[in-house]
Symmetry: C2
Subunit: 452 residues, 2 copies
């Protein structure tokens, strides 16, 4: 039953399109899940993709649209009229509908919204569009099952039958008072197990998790993952607790994946959301700036080494041969320590003062550095036979590792305090600055030890 | 309502423990979610944590156990008798119960299992322990709501009331035939909306996603994320489709998070699952091996440069000052290209042949390399005034970048084909080998261009 995107499959679809064999094409695609059809469309050219979209009914195509690659969706939307987009949007839950519309230009947004027939749907989408996409409000949907605390279980079941038809998945039933304030929650299970003449207020669970509409999505994700929640209600403010919407775990899965991918790419020196299948130009745009930063760092290293050109005589020449080693070690240590801090911050388990972190990293780096330096000392002494040179290089290595570790620890903590994404620190940024600083430190220390 | 782990809070708990004020301590902790209590216990020493665990009832402590840091859980379990662990396990769902037991030594596992009173629970846990923890079987729970296709909606509702009490969350109701073969699914909503005298076989949705018990957890996660599933049934084999258990999305969220963290740490040159709060010794064990690899790489670079010592005269001396630049660029390009491949592989969207990937990366690297080389050429020419040297360095840079890009692309693809986690490639492994190879290539090319 597993879907496999094969070349044969795509060729088959392309053939149906070429032959304009609508009946067979529809029958063929009906076998697949919309997420699979989206994968197929991602492989077709725009004209072919549009052909398929015009062919299938809007219930399916709206779901397909949500699953398309962002670039492809943009192209498809450009080829649809405002009325056609409104028809797609009409089929979607409010959160997905708002996401689609948010991707359009402002003037098109107005055109599309004006074409939405269902008044309530239009009003709800307009409300959602007002929230920042990085907040709970930008992620929530208006669809939820809501009951009043004064209802009975039987009355509740009757009305839920009506509400539930519009809600894809009933995770929780939210209980509100007549001011729409969130009082608690119920599961469908609770309702089924309860007696039909009981009042909702008797069986409601008042211990309900919720998030504020302005809460950052990362924090919403952390809360839902920590408490194993499958849906969380969103309230207007901590004072009035008015129920505005709900966020479901599948949206959070997407957020967590995106976050992780972004951090990973940042650590690798890639910006923007690129994929292996993007064009060379898009990939260049994502990669070249960081490489350029590395180039500048290398030029910095060159200038420092040139400044020490005077050492270029006798035994000290060997110092120059160890600069790649010093630079590499400074870079590695820096990335290690900043990665641990970045991950700790993401999981919200970096507690205690900055100073205690720095002291710990200093001890750790000194320990690691000393072990590595002893090895390096023995190697250089054995190979070059000059103990003082070996000593100078090894002592510098320890110093460079300690400083790199401290910078790697400090920079993400500092960025985080300033409200900047600390993951930036792990990329070529830390490596490059540590490279330069490491080489400078190395020559300064070695020079003073050798007394030249 | 947001929980904040503060020093005051921990001091309060410590004070209650010191005073042996059980009543107040219990009242104080009852306010918190078990995940929060676990966070508090993680900050206490073992003796204090044991005090709290002995105080609270096993319904709460079993959940707390699941949320503790692995190291702390191990210590706590060591301090509990087999009978006490069995009592905790009795309260847990089968999947969590099996996870806890799997962490014990083999002889203790037997002792604990023997002490489980509920026969069915014991049999189910024993079954789950037999599956590999990286497979669907290792992740699934036996708790699920199952109905037979021949039942009526009314009969179904009656029996579900019984089954549902044992299932924390009813995501889907699975429909089986009398051979226990998975036929389809239903939602509680479908059941509520249906007429009470309808047969289940009339309203069952036969298009049900499922996974094989031997499927890898990463693949299960990918499927659930792609199709937005909140639970997926697990079957014994594709032939008999016998329903064995179900996996819920909250377990997958944990898997996805762990995967992402592992990849991220691997890219940063950290092995093992370490956190910022781990001991210096644990962190050293996770970091030092990779640093040592970097040290060996640096020694390799030293040996290469020493081999070219003859160039150390006249204009060519400047070549040595650019080795950190060359090494840094080789490392950065290699990490960038392998990170993109690793991420593509994880998302299952690296299609097409290895050759086409390599050709694309070659073009990309050549483009990036040329842009960077032109800049470097102008810089060296302007600063040093020697066009041929500037030319030699720049041409080498392009070659180094192209080779680094190819290696970065090839290695993860190769590892993946061999069934090895490609994420290994992104760490210091790629950087170090690219450093050495880059420097070697650089001197070889520069030497031949300069004709020295």
């Amino acid at each position: 039953m597993q879907f496999q995107l094969t070349d044969e499959l795509i060729e088959q679809v392309e053939l149906f399109i070429e032959q304009e064999n609508d009946k067979e094409l529809k029958k063929f695609l009906d076998e697949f899940h919309y997420a699979d059809i989206a994968e197929i469309l991602d492989e077709l050219n725009l004209e072919q993709a549009m052909y398929v979209i015009k062919l299938l009914d809007s219930e399916t195509t709206s779901d397909i649209l949500m699953e398309l690659d962002e670039d492809n969706r943009e192209k498809v939307l450009k080829n649809l009229s405002a009325k056609e987009i409104a028809e797609e949007v009409e089929e979607l839950d409010t959160d997905d509908a708002a996401d689609i519309i948010a991707e359009l230009s402002e003037s098109r947004q107005k055109d599309v919204i004006a074409q939405i027939i269902d008044d309530e749907h239009r009003a709800e989408i307009t409300e959602l569009l007002a929230y920042d996409e990085d907040t709970a409000g930008g992620l929530m949907a208006k669809e939820l099952v809501k009951v009043y605390e004064t209802w009975t279980v039987a009355g509740c079941m009757r009305r839920i039958r009506g509400q539930a038809k519009e809600v894809t998945r009933v995770h929780s039933i939210y209980v509100v008072n007549k001011e729409e304030k969130l009082i608690g929650r119920l599961s469908l299970k609770d309702l089924i197990v309860a007696k039909s003449d009981q009042k909702i207020s008797e069986i409601v669970k008042v211990n309900v998790d919720y998030v504020n509409v302005n809460e950052k999505v990362e924090e919403v994700g952390r809360i839902m993952a920590k408490y194993d929640l499958e849906a969380i209600p969103v309230i207007q403010s901590d004072d009035n607790k008015i129920l505005l919407g709900r966020i479901t775990i599948d949206d959070i899965v997407d957020v967590l994946k995106e976050e992780a991918e972004k951090d990973y790419q940042m650590a690798a020196g890639i910006t923007g959301d690129v994929e292996a299948d993007d064009s060379i130009l898009e990939l260049t745009r994502a990669r070249l700036p960081w490489l350029f930063l590395g180039l500048l760092g290398g030029i910095g290293a060159f200038l420092i080494m040139e400044g020490f050109e005077g050492l270029f005589t006798g035994e000290a020449v060997v110092l120059f041969f160890f600069t790649p080693l010093i630079a590499a070690m400074a870079g590695n240590v820096g990335v290690q320590s900043s990665a641990i801090i970045v991950q700790g911050l993401a999981n919200d388990d970096v507690r205690g003062s900055v100073n205690s972190r720095l002291i710990k990293e200093m001890l750790l780096a000194a320990l690691n550095g000393t072990i590595l330096a002893i090895f390096l000392f023995l190697f250089v002494w054995a190979v070059k036979g000059e103990m003082l040179v070996a000593f100078a290089i090894s002592v510098s290595l320890v110093a460079v590792i300690v400083i790199a570790g401290l910078i790697g620890t400090f920079v993400p903590l500092f960025l985080n305090k300033r409200g900047i994404d600390p993951a930036i620190a792990t990329g070529p940024f830390i490596t490059t600055s540590n490279d330069i600083l490491g080489i400078l430190l190395y020559f300064l220390i070695a020079k003073s030890i050798l007394g030249i």
